[in-house]
Symmetry: C2
Subunit: 208 residues, 2 copies
DNA sequence: GCTATCTGCCGACAACTTGTCGGTAGATAA
DNA sequence: TTATCTACCGACAAGTTGTCGGCAGATAGC
């Protein structure tokens, strides 16, 4: 018996299942057969909605990226919150919180998911770096930051946080503590902020 | 007619061809058939020397990583050269020079090669970061650097340079110029070096 | 109400993939 | 001179992605 659904619905259904499988087993190890069996549709149906496996991956990345960027954007745009907290908050959102769960992020950093991870990184960088750059420029004029290259500083922070935050997962509490402090320390330096100023903002976020 | 070679030789032959194909077409798109046809051996021969395609990749990464690390190590250990130049020299070696050519590095950063790239990055980071960290500590005691977290600073520099240097390739000369300057600027800040001190060291290297 | 079309779906099939395995050639050892 | 051991061979199993002709059921046109 065949079940018919509107294209958008089926597409999302496929993306949901594929996303889970890709993250869980890795893009290469999860086959299109796994996807269609899980949903209970035929081969042809899958290829009716997406023209290749890679296109499914791209759609997933697009979707996840959009969510993350949107989330960062709301934080960045919240004028009620001090500048410094908006910056740290959105960096955190990008890496630990975010629509996708923590365990998912960990999965994404496994070698099998290198492609997914890289595409996500590109997507997020493209979307978020400009936002951060504006924030940093704002900080420049306000006087809490001081840097000649806001965009590049933003890029460096995003890239590093993205690759370093998952190392954190497998570390002992002390090492994690140290690495986090180091990250904050270096972010302050990159932005030309006073030592400890960012750390203070982060404390504020967590005490809320 | 069958040609017999000592295992080591055949292994290297396979690695050479595989490396070229993986970089050129991507790990997934280059098939083991491509490899054996190019060399002119049978399927069984390939799997006699390597137990999987992935093992071939790992061997390639291992070999490339070893070369890069060795190269960085020689530069770092050259006591005749000033500290600052040793640091910049080895960062450059890691990214633009090195045994593998420039065009190869560009290929390696294409999405198809995400896995190769990621594994290489891990390998290089593990090998090079400790070297850099020592160098930075040395700079701390000498007084040209000033940072609380030498290891993390080293890591940040290596990771960022590794992902940012290839963006450079596709940029206009002016943007490239600006991005390079930004990178140097940020490296100085991370290390707590005087502004312009690293830039000067780099000039020295290129004027040689 | 009766076709025609259009949308979503089906599953067999072609053309690949990776990895296995029994067997073979030729150098080396006994 | 025979046995063994190393490197090699190629057919094959099991699985992969993507294609394609055709079908079912809602919607549109008459």
């Amino acid at each position: 018996m065949r079940v018919v659904k509107p294209a958008e619905e089926r597409k999302n259904e496929i993306l949901d299942v594929a996303e889970q499988l890709f993250v869980e087993k890795g893009f290469d190890n999860a086959s299109t057969n796994d996807i269609i069996k899980e949903i209970g549709i035929a081969r042809g149906t899958l290829y009716y909605h997406f023209k290749s496996k890679e296109e499914i991956l791209d759609a997933i990345v697009e979707r996840m990226g959009r969510e993350k960027i949107a989330q960062a954007a709301t934080i960045v745009a919240d004028w009620n919150v001090p500048l410094m907290e908006r910056l740290t908050g959105s960096v955190l959102a990008l890496n630990v919180d975010s629509g996708v769960g923590v365990e998912m992020l960990a999965q994404m950093h496994k070698p099998q998911n290198a492609l997914l991870h890289q595409k996500m990184q590109e997507s997020v960088i493209a979307g978020v770096v400009p936002l951060f750059a504006k924030l940093i420029e704002e900080g420049n004029t306000v006087g809490i930051f001081n840097t000649k290259y806001p965009t590049d500083a933003a890029e460096m922070i995003v890239i590093y946080s993205n690759t370093a935050f998952d190392e954190l997962a497998g570390l002992s509490p002390e090492k994690r503590e140290k690495k986090s402090k180091a990250f904050i320390y270096h972010t302050e330096r990159l932005l030309g902020a006073d030592e400890g100023s960012l750390a203070a903002a982060i404390m504020k976020i967590f005490s809320k």
